[in-house]
């Protein structure tokens, strides 16, 4: 079992390793730079405070992603957020602030993915843009592999609708 101060010692390395990826995941959920940064910081803080043992690298990564997704869901659910943020107009411009480690040929599809309901958005984003396998996504989102496959298929249909008909 890893001691608390040992985990704190690894803070720098940890932030460097996961910060960008977690930011992208948070942004795909919140569509707002400032909120995404807050969510990532909150995830790191929870990781530091968490006393449960982390078994290995895979577990660590999955834990951080799952926590980030939960924080994003909480932020989206909050009454303040629902009443004050109108993010749709800013989406196109903000999408460019997602710095993927590769060059995208098609920004429009990513925009459409970000417009999906959260149920489909996370599996689609993790599968296509972060290159996770179905098994990994199922672990991170705490769902069955079959559920993830269904959401990927239905989410893809939704993306097509957004691109062709312009509606989610």
């Amino acid at each position: 079992m890893e001691h608390k101060f040992e985990r704190e010692k690894r803070w720098g390395d940890l932030a460097g390793e996961y910060q960008t990826m977690l930011y992208r995941i948070a942004f795909s959920n919140l569509k707002n730079r400032a909120d995404a940064e807050d969510a990532v910081q909150e995830a790191f803080l929870r990781y530091m405070k968490d006393e449960k043992p982390i078994q290995n690298k895979e577990h660590e990564r999955a834990w951080l992603i799952r926590t980030t997704v939960h924080i994003c869901t909480d932020i989206l659910k909050s009454g303040w957020r629902r009443k004050t943020v109108a993010y749709e107009d800013a989406l196109t411009a903000e999408t460019r602030s997602v710095y993927l480690p590769y060059q995208l040929k098609d920004d429009k599809t990513l925009e459409a993915v970000l417009k999906l309901p959260v149920l489909y958005r996370n599996p689609i984003y993790l599968f296509y843009y972060e290159d996770y396998s179905i098994q990994e996504i199922a672990g991170v989102l705490n769902e069955k592999e079959g559920t993830i496959k269904t959401r990927l298929r239905r989410g893809r249909e939704e993306v097509k609708k957004i691109l062709t008909e312009g509606r989610p």
Partner: protein
């Protein structure tokens, strides 16, 4: 529980305790009939298989499974559509996006492609929405510039991008 004595033999069927004798000519007749029916069944199966390999994109294979294929045991379907002369199955390495020279993310089609130029060949890894991951080695010198083949086209693109 006591033993119940059976009195009399009314209602008890009488068995002759004799072997059922089959007439030799009838046996031969039935054997020939069975053999004929078996032969006919085999011919029908072969014809159906031939038709399927002509029209379908998948086939039933008896070959030894090659790396990157779904499997090659009898009755297991393999992805025939992705194969061509220049495209050969390879072992899946689970290459990351960062390691790749070229990436194609096709959300609306349900797949992603990753390519890496390795000498005269391009290593291509395809991940599909249904959970399959397949890998190929593409000999780009053998690929036509006008190809419509998904993997070949992507391999050429990777060569051009890197070169």
């Amino acid at each position: 529980m006591g033993i119940q004595e059976v009195k009399g033999n009314e209602g008890v069927q009488e068995y002759s305790n004799k072997r059922h004798i089959v007439q030799p000519d009838r046996f031969q007749e039935s054997l020939i009939q069975n053999l004929e029916s078996h032969r006919q069944q085999n011919t029908e199966t072969a014809e159906t298989g031939h038709k399927a390999s002509k029209t379908g994109s998948t086939r039933k294979s008896d070959e030894v499974p090659a790396a990157g294929m779904l499997g090659g045991r009898s009755g297991v379907r393999v992805n025939e559509a992705a194969r061509s002369e220049a495209v050969q199955p390879a072992e899946v390495r689970h290459m990351s996006y960062e390691e790749s020279d070229n990436i194609e993310i096709a959300v609306t089609e349900g797949y992603t492609l990753k390519g890496k130029l390795e000498g005269t060949q391009v290593y291509v890894e395809a991940k599909y929405e249904d959970g399959r991951t397949e890998a190929y080695q593409v000999e780009t010198a053998r690929v036509s510039g006008q190809t419509q083949h998904m993997i070949e086209r992507f391999a050429l693109q990777t060569t051009l991008q890197k070169g």
